[in-house]
Symmetry: C2
Subunit: 335 residues, 2 copies
DNA sequence: AAGACAATAGTTATCGATAACATAGCGGAT
DNA sequence: ATCCGCTATGTTATCGATAACTATTGTCTT
């Protein structure tokens, strides 16, 4: 009594003189009530400052949850920040709430997060990447909710997929560099053991170079996090081994900018002595004194499409299983 | 029957031969059961792959929620990404889940988000900034849950506050620049109408310069989002009006890097002709050819402290109402 | 040996909303 | 006139866990 701070359906029912089932019907926008009743109920709900109890809604029925979970590799990545923004904006506009998680490129951590999430009986879930533990896949199938895998496309999604092919990004960059006359390419990456998507780009790049007759000369993959420092020191290490490289493909733009910093600090001319190209399309890369050659990823659009696809499926509307959001190779002045 | 995919307390109770209340007690780690019972229950819970239904837990009692909401101005900001990471890591380690929102520096959007959040009856909430709508404050007080205001410190928090003073950041930078001999300072910012924290830095900076006898010469505040481009063009506009400025304080590091790009593109020597200083401490800023003079904000630490403070309060442990996480002015080579 | 008390366990009511079913009233078709 | 079927509404059971209470042991005290 004294802890009751919020009005509930019963309060509205009492104030209106109808049963709480009728109130529920009106507020849900279901059918089966007169316009007069509807008006009365809405008026009282407003007056009593009614806030639906989503806990009770989601608990009482197995279809009413408005909770969606999304798990990304790292919250600190600029790219995933934009993905999250796209997801959260779309979801909140559609009346859903967003629960987040990050797994630091570990599918075991992703599984642990998912276990916590399903305890909340969410309406759906968005995961990054196409590789998951067997238990994750099993958990998802048993939960029977929509699942969107974003970021790296797969031809056989668990349910739906939104994104692009990392492998193809690598291929495209390889072909571009070959056309620009580059012949001795290296790669600087990070976290290769677990970042399967970064590895896919490397594989695509490597395949394209090999097919053109100029196989990848060397690679330097740090276990560090893929930031500016890793790019700086990764390039230093790689060049110490292979001074004659004419271009280096970086894991991402942050690392490429680190590479540019190294080149500047050591009097290397870019792109004359060495081409430097990145991946991701972070905004910083486009305002450098020399614009970075990179692949721009439509991050926000991916997040938005994933969220909208998920909700479409929840509402029983039609939605493609696989949505391709193409990336764009943007030639800059560094490669 | 056929939609029942998950084991619940009753299933475990049946399998163990005790009541579900006893099962609940064991799994919650409460008291009132023998070691033998405990072992049996845990074994069956494991065997049945039991996942607690958090919806039911949170719904049935008003203290059992493990949901925490956090609302930041923008998900795309590198700084807030790190804050989120700090929050989410700490919360998930402590057994809580994170629901997010963003309000784009609008306290009305923050209020709208909070209304959705409280419908989930969360355990607590983390907000950014010290300025909220009256309805927000009212909603929070009535909800009776712990609230942490992060990012900008206030002497009278709604409940708890974790962060630092933006005003003092501005003061410190002003005093630093005066010591370095700068006399004609400008400011380039963005979103001033609503970003009260950026405005607080400007106010502090402005106050410090004025107190030293060299009041701020001019400011250029764009309505754009505070990124690299805004920094570039903001500096261009400001210098067109005030060519004789000897230093410019930027809203943040992204904008300052944009300013550096403008200076490089127009043959301005930095810091010779013009000092350029930022705020925030983004990683990029420290690997530029010339390291940016900036204020480093311990973003992850703030997120972590906020989450841990919130949980401490939930557990009835002692926790300071106001936790200061000091920023650090890091002199670089640009100012 | 009786009473006090702790340890262990079970019973009942409850949170708020919704699905599924039941009912009442009314108009139209046969 | 009777039955059908529609609209508007009410009733009951249910989701899973927990708080608050009750009950049964068994041990210790005096």
């Amino acid at each position: 009594m004294d802890r009751k701070t919020k009005a509930n359906l019963t309060d509205i029912a009492r104030a209106t003189g109808v049963s709480k089932m009728t109130v529920s019907r009106v507020l849900r926008g279901a059918t089966g009530f007169s316009d007069e009743t509807k008006a009365k109920v809405l008026r009282e709900a407003e007056r009593l400052d009614y806030v639906p109890n989503r806990l009770a809604q989601a608990f009482g029925s197995d279809t009413a949850s408005t909770l969606v979970g999304i798990c990304v590799p790292r919250l600190t990545s600029g790219l995933f920040g934009h993905v999250l923004e796209g997801v959260d904006r779309a979801l909140s506009r559609l009346g859903y709430q967003t629960m987040i998680g990050s797994h630091n490129h570990s599918i075991a951590e992703e599984e642990a997060w998912l276990r916590q999430l399903v305890a909340w009986r969410p309406a759906g879930v968005i995961l990054s990447g196409r590789v998951h533990t067997a238990a994750t896949v099993d958990l998802l199938r048993r939960a029977g909710m929509p699942v969107v895998e974003i970021w790296d496309l797969t031809t056989s999604p668990i349910d739906m997929a939104v994104g692009f092919s990392h492998f193809d990004c690598g291929v495209e960059m390889g072909q571009f560099l070959i056309r620009k006359g580059r012949r001795k390419a290296g790669f600087v990456g990070a976290l290769s053991r677990s970042d399967v998507m970064g590895t896919a780009r490397l594989d695509g790049f490597s395949a394209a170079m090999a097919r053109a007759g100029f196989p990848l000369v060397d690679r330097e993959v740090l276990l560090d996090s893929p930031g500016f420092y890793a790019g700086y020191y990764g390039l230093e290490t790689l060049l110490a081994r292979q001074p004659s490289l004419d271009v280096v493909y970086f894991h991402n733009d942050e690392m490429a900018i680190g590479g540019l910093a190294y080149a500047a600090a050591h009097g290397l001319s870019v792109p004359g002595d060495l081409g430097i190209v990145g991946w991701g399309g972070m905004e910083a890369a486009s305002v450098l004194p020399r614009r970075l050659t990179t692949t721009v990823v439509p991050t926000t659009a991916i997040g938005k499409a994933a969220a909208e696809g998920l909700v479409a499926r929840l509402k029983g509307e039609h939605c493609e299983d696989i949505v391709v959001i193409p990336t764009r190779l943007v030639p800059g002045e560094t490669g």
